[in-house]
């Protein structure tokens, strides 16, 4: 017993090897690269999308056009009335049709049949603006839409 403690006391405690640290970090990195996607649009609207249970997943991002509706983050400049965002800028209801036609033209031919318009709308917004956008979508003949929603966390 005494010899044992003497032995260990003589030696310095070895430094913890950090050789595997890069590997761990790289693993984390690859994990995040796989499960996340690049942010496509700048957040110029405050959008809290609603929760629901009956969700479907959109498989192919190539066949989707996004329309965002919410209140501007910069309330002082743009006011607090709900606005539409197409790509990276504010838009009016009249711009929706052209945007949809343009997005549809950009979709690869193989996916044109499953072209979907995803509406990311803040849950506090009133239906007026949403209805206007839906009427525009009908005019543009983009009939398959998706109300973006998150999975509802069960209360019970």
């Amino acid at each position: 017993m005494s010899r044992f403690s003497k032995d260990s006391g003589k030696k310095e405690t070895p430094a913890i090897s950090t050789a595997s640290l890069p590997d761990i970090i790289f693993m984390l990195l690859f994990f995040f690269m796989v499960v996340t996607v690049m942010r496509e649009t700048n957040p110029i609207l405050k959008i809290k999308i609603p929760q629901a249970t009956e969700l479907s997943k959109i498989e192919l991002k190539e066949s989707v056009a996004y329309i965002l509706i919410g209140t501007p983050t910069d309330v002082n400049t743009y006011g607090s009335a709900p606005r539409i965002q197409l790509n990276d800028s504010y838009a009016e209801v009249e711009n929706v049709q052209f945007f949809i036609k343009k997005s549809y033209a950009e979709v690869p031919d193989a996916y044109k049949g499953i072209f979907t318009v995803s509406l990311k709308v803040d849950e506090e917004v009133t239906m007026g603006i949403v209805t206007d956008v839906k009427q525009e979508l009908r005019k543009a003949d983009a009939l398959k839409i998706n109300y973006a929603a998150n999975r509802k966390v069960l209360e019970e």
Binding site: T53, L55, V64, V121, E123
Partner: protein, 200 residues
């Protein structure tokens, strides 16, 4: 010079590798989002300039009329209803098969009509859409379970019909069953042209 020769090639210092990896990791954390491309799929009716003809009236009994006003209050068949009870009403309406006089005679005939005000909250609207879809999936699940002897619900049938790992014969059976369930309970949700229902 002589010293390095005797020692051989030096090992590359790898201690900064972790820092570089951390930097990359933080970059990806900031520029990316966890994908949330989920939602309620909905089909819009085709656009037509002229108003719909008035004489296409659905039998009042087959129609479940849902009205939502600007205060997010629900009126189902002239009755004030809480949002939580909507799903049960939908399933009752769909699976009534002529029992109660105010609901549908058969699931094939049943139509749900939704009318909302311009001032209705989008969150409420989505909850209603969700309840309608939930009602449909409940009756469809029940029917699918009955058809498959309790082994598969509608969602599993749907997954199985789309699953390309399974062999063709199994997939076709699933597809056939799925079509049968859809034929029994066709989803007919009609949304009226926007109007102002008042409420504030």
């Amino acid at each position: 010079m002589g010293r390095s020769k005797t020692k051989g090639a030096k090992e590359i210092d790898a201690s900064s590798m972790a820092d570089i990896a951390f930097l990359l990791l933080i970059f990806f954390l900031v520029t990316t989002t966890i994908d949330q491309d989920k939602g309620i799929i909905h089909k819009l009716p085709t656009w037509s300039e002229e108003p719909p003809p008035d004489d296409v009236r659905i039998n009042d009994r087959e129609l479940l009329e849902i009205l939502v006003n600007a205060n997010n209050q629900l009126l189902v068949e002239q009755d004030y209803v809480e949002l939580e009870d909507l799903k049960d009403i939908v399933t009752k309406h769909l699976d009534n098969r002529g029992r109660l006089p105010q609901y549908s005679t058969s699931p094939q005939e049943a139509v749900i009509s939704l009318k909302n005000d311009r001032g209705t909250n989008y969150g409420t609207y989505i909850e209603i859409q969700n309840s309608l879809k939930a009602g449909y999936s409940e009756v469809r699940n029940k029917y699918a379970l009955a058809l498959t002897g309790g082994s598969m619900n509608y969602k599993e049938l749907d997954d199985c019909a789309d699953n390309e790992d399974l062999d063709a014969s199994k997939r076709n059976t699933c597809l056939g069953l799925k079509k049968k369930v859809q034929g029994e309970y066709p989803m007919k949700i009609s949304e009226a042209e926007p109007v102002n229902l008042g409420g504030n």
